[in-house]
Amino acid sequence: MLSELPPLLSLVIWFPILGGAAVLFVGDDNPGRAKALALTVAILTFLISIPLFTLFDPTTAKMQFQEFVPWIPALSVNYHLGVDGFSMPLILLTAFMNVLVVIAGWEVVQYRVAQYMAAFLIMEGLMIGVFAALDAILFYVFFEAMLIPMFLVIGIWGGPRRVYATLKFFLYTFLGSVFMLIALIYLYTQADSFEILDFHMLPLTLSEQVWIFFAFLLGFSVKVPMWPVHTWLPDAHVEAPTGGSVILAAITLKIGGYGFLRFALPITPDASATLDWLIITLSLIAVVYIGLVALIQQDMKKLIAYSSIAHMGFVTLGFFIAFSISRHTGNLNGAAMGIEGGMVQMVSHGFISGALFLCVGVLYDRVHSRQIKDYGGVANTMPVFAAFMVLFAMANAGLPGTSGFVGEFLVILSSFKASFWIAFLASFTLILGAAYTLWLVKRVIFGEIGNHHVAELEDVGCREIIMLSLLAAAVLLLGLWPDPLTSTMHATVDNLLQHMTVTKL
């Protein structure tokens, strides 16, 4: 039955890319038509991606919706696509967020509208390609190609220090990933294949694994980003236009986390087990130290950027806690919870950080400042907006009932099985997260009207309400009923745990 389906994955990858090219073709002289076309393409892409969820079989860890075409036979590279419980939710997230980005840029972007929309559509296709690729070279190609549109988005439509920020972004990520390329080539020389699933089965010595693990770590930790290679993120976020920040926070960071699940953990399980203390330490530093850094930020976007790093620390913590659990208790009960928690946290953070960046964008469009001190008492003039922003802030702080709670709760529960102290430090996020977000809300939303700019603010319009309420619905839905998401990945998580715990030596 499945074989009669159209090639869904290829469609969700190439439809937005071709659509983006078509938008470019419409040109900047026709902004109205370009925007309409871009929105159509984005919505259609999302609609095409829905069957990936409805037809997904959650009982198996096998790759689904597979497509296989030899691409460069001489080097045994194949155009091989497929999704499992990790990649499918992220593809849906990408397609969903892109619709919002197109809506968010609707009236705000005035300069070269067609190029703006096209860049995002092309990037969408490439990011989905990253999640769907089952061939290492295909993965790498999508992974790198994605940099070009983001480089342009930050550089063309960004803020005053955009050139510095975008070059830093590009070079950091590029440097991280080229080592991964060498590792992939090395794996090819051992496995005689570029299939990621073949790499999972490949026996490797511990020293080989450690080298390869570090290559992956360099590539993915920059994307996540983990402390201490996180410094590009605040710069890129602050300078990027709203849409760029949303995609960076919601999707690009997830590619790093996804990379750990797809590459580092199953390909180098023994090295991951040996070096899990490193990742756990870095994750805890991200949670605690970066949380403190977020507290003192004056710039709203920077604050949310640092909060993203802290939240992503939770993701990596959840992924790597399993080894510690099995050492501590001798079994793997609770390890699955950590990985699932990390995944839920990724998806939820995609919604929440995207939403918060959109909120900052809404304010910035009106006042043209991101400084916290330029606001105050926004609730008086923008009550509807204030309600949304408070909701997203609560979700960011991990309030039960919102999606932010589920992931953090699962990861903390899981870390308790490993060590009290890890859990103790991780729980700092509940305090710190609440502190910096609520303090932000207090200073921006509540209180007396700060100045005449705030007094003249107009509340959110229809377009903004649509985009914020879509996200609010997603945040609440995932918070109250996470089962549709978690149940799709049970089988995949179990399969991953098997790979992680069977030694390759």
């Binding site: 691409w71 001489a74 550089g155 975008t166 070079l171 080229v178 390329l181 020389t189």
Partner: protein
């Protein structure tokens, strides 16, 4: 004495180009400036004719002719086809540029064709003597071409430098050839390779000869530390000539290295591998580092050439069939990128204005989004970003060195390619993020616009489907019996 006429069929394209070049030289004398475009048209027709002759006679197996001095094989034919393609693009991009500067003379095209002939001879040489003859035919044409702008002091200086250093390199090469001849008693590459295989590295004269040959080759390739001439010549020469020097001759230089080091001295691989590792590492490092500080885009691209030569050497030094195919693929892709990059500089120049500085690209996206897009494609491809041909070129050469266990060299290569990405990105930054400093519209004739578009899109197409060209390279080399 019995004289047996050799088989001339394999050299038909060369004879055709030679005849046409001589004919054009004569015809051009009778044309006045208004009808100079006839010379241009004939030159293009010559290239087309040669391409058809090569294509229909595409070698299925190696044929040695002219008493062992000449070989026609698939590697040679494939490289020749790209030489014609590059030369045709060079002539086309240069046409309007030359016209605007009163340099639209028959000499440019005649010398260009003789250069093409020289490259064809290098590509198909089967003896050290023929290699040298082809190289000199090319080099002498290039020296003269650099000096065509007689009134320009920079161009004359560049020509002088090129001539002196180039002659020095030729001298080295010739000296090395004489030693090889002394040690093996022949210039025929096949005889040489058998003799070398028998004597091995024990023969000191042979190893000495090898050193001189490698030095000479490095000069011609522009590998560090024999790269000094390259930036000055690239910058000083008229852009139309830089375009020529920077593109097709790289294909010939690759063939030169293949013929001498692999076909002739393959048995000394252990000796030349070490030398090439040093040359490659130094070229990648120095080329990329110094390119960062350049403000003149021609000079920047010159240093970028040096770094690309380093990458290309990675493939050759691997010493495997896979590595040679990778290096060949790299060379062809590099030539396509170089033609596009220098072509873009030419197209942005106009009467009284040279788009020589990186700043001249500022705001190109506002002036002409399509050209900016094409230039971005070329720059990103040079930086090795995927879905563009340049990535696959880098990947296959890296794979070749990882395969022979030189992982540190591959890591060095990628680190410097990241450093190199910075200056390519700077060009993109100027085009997209900065405001234009000039408002004059960019005028392109239709055929150049089509050509440059095809050039840029070819890089995208090769990026989406590199299989065909990779396959041709691999087959061409496997027909040589290397695989």
């Amino acid at each position: 004495m019995n004289f047996v006429a050799p088989d001339f069929m394999p050299v038909l394209p060369e004879l055709f180009v030679l005849t046409m070049a001589c004919l054009i030289l004569v015809i051009d004398v009778f044309l006045d400036q208004r009808r100079r475009h006839i010379t241009y048209g004939l030159a293009q027709l010559t290239l087309l004719g040669a391409a058809l002759l090569t294509l229909f006679g595409y070698a299925q197996a190696s044929v040695v002719t002219l008493f062992g001095h000449y070989v026609k094989d698939a590697m040679g034919d494939l490289l020749k086809l790209f030489v014609y393609l590059a030369a045709a693009a060079v002539f086309l991009y240069s046409r309007d540029y030359l016209r605007q500067r009163d340099l639209f003379k028959g000499e440019y095209f005649v010398l260009g064709l003789f250069g093409v002939l020289g490259m064809m001879i290098m590509v198909s040489a089967h003896s050290l003597l023929t290699v040298y003859l082809g190289l000199e035919l090319l080099s002498l044409s290039l020296y003269a071409l650099v000096a065509t702008d007689r009134d320009s002091p920079v161009a004359s200086e560049a020509a002088m430098k090129y001539f002196v250093l180039g002659s020095l390199a030729s001298g080295m090469l010739l000296y090395g050839i004489s030693m090889i001849y002394g040690a093996t008693g022949s210039v025929d590459l096949q005889v040489v390779s058998i003799a070398v295989a028998r004597q091995g590295a024990n023969n000191l004269v042979l190893v000495f000869g090898l050193v001189f040959l490698v030095v000479g080759l490095s000069f011609k390739l522009g590998a560090v530390p024999f790269h000094m001439w390259l930036p000055d010549v690239y910058q000083g020469a008229p852009t139309s000539v830089t375009l020529y020097i920077g593109s097709a001759p790289k294909l010939a230089a690759f063939a030169l290295v293949m013929r001498i080091l692999v076909d002739g001295l393959g048995a000394l691989q252990d000796d030349w591998q070490g030398m090439l590792i040093i040359l490659a590492a130094a070229s990648m490092a120095l080329g990329n580092l110094i390119a960062i500080v350049q403000t003149n885009i021609k000079r920047m691209l010159a240093y970028s050439t040096i770094s690309h030569v380093g990458f290309l050497l990675l493939g050759i030094l691997a010493g495997t069939a896979e590595g040679y195919a990778a290096a060949m693929f790299y060379t062809i892709v590099y030539v396509l990128m170089a033609v596009g990059a220098f072509g873009m500089i030419i197209l942005l120049s106009r009467t009284g204005f040279e788009a020589e500085n990186i700043d001249d690209f500022k705001g190109l996206n506002d002036r002409n989004p399509w050209l900016a897009f094409l230039m971005m494609t070329i720059m990103m491809s040079m930086a090795g970003v995927p879905f563009l041909a340049g990535f696959y070129a880098k990947w296959v050469v890296l794979q070749a060195v990882v395969n022979i266990g030189l992982i540190w060299l591959a890591i060095l290569g990628v680190v410097f390619s990241v450093i190199g990405a910075f200056y390519y990105l700077r060009v993109v930054k100027c085009m997209y993020f900065d405001k234009p400093e000039q408002s004059e519209p960019i005028q392109l004739s239709l055929d150049t616009e089509i050509a440059i578009s095809a050039n840029g899109l070819l890089l995208v197409a090769l990026g989406l489907y590199p299989t065909a060209l990779m396959g041709w390279c691999a087959t061409a080399l496997s027909l040589k019996g290397l695989a």
